[in-house]
Amino acid sequence: MTYIGNKSDLRVVGTRPDRPDGVDKVTGRAIYGADFRLAGQLVGRILRSPHAHAKIIKIDTSKARALPGVKAVMTAQDMPNITSEESFVGEGPTNFRDQSLNVMARDKVLYEGHAVAAVAAMSPSIAEAALALIEVTYEVLPHVIDVEEAMAPGAPILDETLFTAGVDPKPTTPSNIAKKIILKSGDIDAGFAKADIIAEGRYVTAAVHQAYIEPHACVATIGADGQATVYASSQGHFMIRAFCAKLLGMEISNIRVIPLEIGGGFGGKTIVYLEPVALTLSKMAGKPVKLVMTREEVFRASGPTSGAVVEVKMGAMKDGTIVAAQAVLKYQAGAFPGSPVQPGLMCAFAMYDIPNVHLTGYDVISNRAKVAAYRAPGAPISSYAAEQVVDDLARQLGMDAITIREKNAAKAGTKTVYGVTFPEIGYEAVLAAAKSHAHWKAPLGKNQGRGIATGFWFNIGGESSASVFVNEDGSVSVVSGSPDIGGSRASMAMMAAEVLGIPVANVRPIIGDTASIGFTNVTGGSRVTYATGMATVQATEKVIEQLKQRAAMIWDISPDAVDWKDGQAVPAGANAGGFDPLSLAAIAAKAGKTGGPIGSEVSVNAQGAGPGFGAHICDVEVDRETGQTTILRYTAIQDVGRAIHPSYVEGQIQGGAVQGIGWALNEEYIYDAKGKMDNAGFLDYRVPVASDLPMIEAVLVEVPNTRHPFGVRGVGEVPIVPPMAAIGNAVRDAIGIRMHSLPMSPPKVRKALDSGQG
């Protein structure tokens, strides 16, 4: 059923109730990964490689084992040596064997911070002493950090068995280029031949971390019967179960994963680092084991997303029609294949209807931590380059930056370079909202500039499960399989309450563990409100059918003669009989006599997640003396389909925009000559703080996605796509120089001002 209809008919959806987990989270009661403990648990610690690239000759753990209080010491030898297999859970391409080798290095360490051994001990100090007693003999190998150096002939090779996929004929020498991808439409040469003007640029982005404030943490316990339980904060407890089973050769049915509250993830908690290690240690020690990363470990060994080199060239006619767009993307994957270069290619020009497009992508490994998904993986990087080139086209043509985008805007029926034809989308509505926003016309002062950039993300659907139960007193429980990373419990409760016609306070939403609800894929791809929301709505509708049947039984009439209205069963018409309405509570009280408890579970594989578009307008002021860029004003406009809880939708947009601001101005992985990360802490890896920022105005445009009962589109990822180009365009406007690399930090801007080149 659809509830899109008239927005004013909705009573719960679109309002801003208190979130159901709010009190727990403002009082310190909520239990996150590191807050959980089991009686008798041991303290786990991981020994990590000090080298960027080395062969492991020998690991001697005998002294560590002999230390009193040490209960287990493990290396990769204590995990199965599994074969290569594409993974089916999580976000983005990955391989179970790579995951295994990333969790614990076997023959080689591939980056500084790569795990080589782990201990479980009675106390933190004993565990740390034990780490110091493990002797690892390395043969240090030459390393490579930079993406283009890793691609060059003669570069140190990380994996002798890796041959570039996607080139013909099949290469005979190993390479750090895991894959070459080409996407094209039309005829690129003919397109450029038609162009009156050309704009192009080579752009470099730095690797950046998701930088969730909660470090990874878990507690694992496994009994003598092989039954394991893992308590973890993650973006998907079913993902943890699948990875642990594969990596440890266990049966899925023997692993139960219980989700704890998660302190941010942004994609970075869609894969495992600690859980297989904790399980292995627990098995060896016969006791529960807790593992918690330090912030330094988070930086060195988890996340980040790719740094990249992106070359873009675009051609347009005098009237502003873009006739050709070409890009070459070189993305760092970290130590194992699997950068988000594919979505980077797909998203680069997705906002536009361009007849001739040619895209080339390279997935490149180097001696860095394996990349993990980060909010709209891949898209912010390619958009950062493409949207500045579009800005250059507009400048050459003397055209307004929104007008050129309107002229070439993708709309319903536009065929993308990756083959999909867009359904109803809101890009034009977003541009119209940007153009009419007061921000676009506001005056600017000296050394100030304004930029706009737009962005796209697919949003996904996929597998989700939810169940809805009516309790004996008529209150309702909603159980779903999606970890709540930013308010999804609130939106599930609201959708169920809306469908049932009851106050949201009567609905208690919880997250079920892997043994109490059907499979649900990760909280990622902006899929939860869409797909899990769809499952929740369908389960609620099934419950309403049951409620109508129960009312029919009580009244002794046909179920067809019962309607559900405003949270009550009512006779469908005058012919049905003159019964007083039966409330949910009244029906629930009689459930035992009318067939037993009332409830329903629905699992879906949701298709048709609505594509999302956003436009960000940004004003900056550049201090010519220091090179410091200050964000003066920021407006983020986005088509959200329909906002279930507008405050949390705004929050997603504001948070995503600010992560993008950090990516644009401050954040970067810095390596020393030995390939070691130089800034593995929040002091030197500087994420935006409150005093860096103005208010972030979020403008919600609602073009409902007809394939969701309430018209929902994913909202969480789009907002990180436009910021870097919006700020780049604003800086260009302020100083007259186009900056070509991220972050646009004060020293770099200062240098550009001195040399006249960015």
Partner: protein, 158 residues
């Protein structure tokens, strides 16, 4: 390793614990006293998730040794509400959706409370600078700043 007996007052109640010499106040609160509302985001004084008030001063509990807390009065997130009654800051955080994942929230609330105790009418800039030691990666700070300003207004009776 021998341990030191530490006597404190936490959230108005007497609290004693044993501390190894290197134990931080943060770990003592979380692991010895069992108050896990105070979080560790960095362990190096850079994120503010571990904010507590010691003898009236806002501190990063990850930077203070547990043994240094001998005789002191400590206030943690668990002591911000009065029984079942939330502090205005707590209510405003929920009302404004000033939390997404909520992991930074205890630190922000403790830091904001200490601000309002010193300055009951802060400007937006004052709020932003006072809270600059607390990292939030989810919200972009917008709703946090609004919640703090509105809580201050309510507490002033404005």
């Amino acid at each position: 390793m021998s341990k030191t007996h530490v006597t404190t007052t936490i959230n108005g109640e007497p609290a004693e614990f044993l501390a190894e010499a290197g134990l931080t106040l943060l770990d003592a609160l979380r692991d010895e006293v069992g108050l896990t509302g105070t979080k560790e985001g960095c362990g190096s004084g850079d994120c503010g998730a571990c904010s507590v008030i010691v003898d009236g001063r806002l501190v990063c509990s990850c930077l203070m040794l547990a043994v240094e807390a001998e005789g002191s009065t400590i206030e943690t997130i668990e002591g911000v509400a009065t029984g079942d009654t939330l502090h205005p800051l707590q209510r405003k955080f929920i009302e404004y959706a000033a939390l997404q994942c909520g992991f930074c929230t205890p630190g922000f609330l403790v830091a904001a409370k200490s601000l309002l105790e010193k300055n009951n009418n802060p400007t937006e800039t004052e709020v932003r600078f006072w809270l600059a030691g607390n990292l939030c990666r989810c919200t972009g700070y917008d709703k946090i700043v609004r919640a703090v300003m509105d809580a201050a207004a309510e507490m002033r009776g404005a």
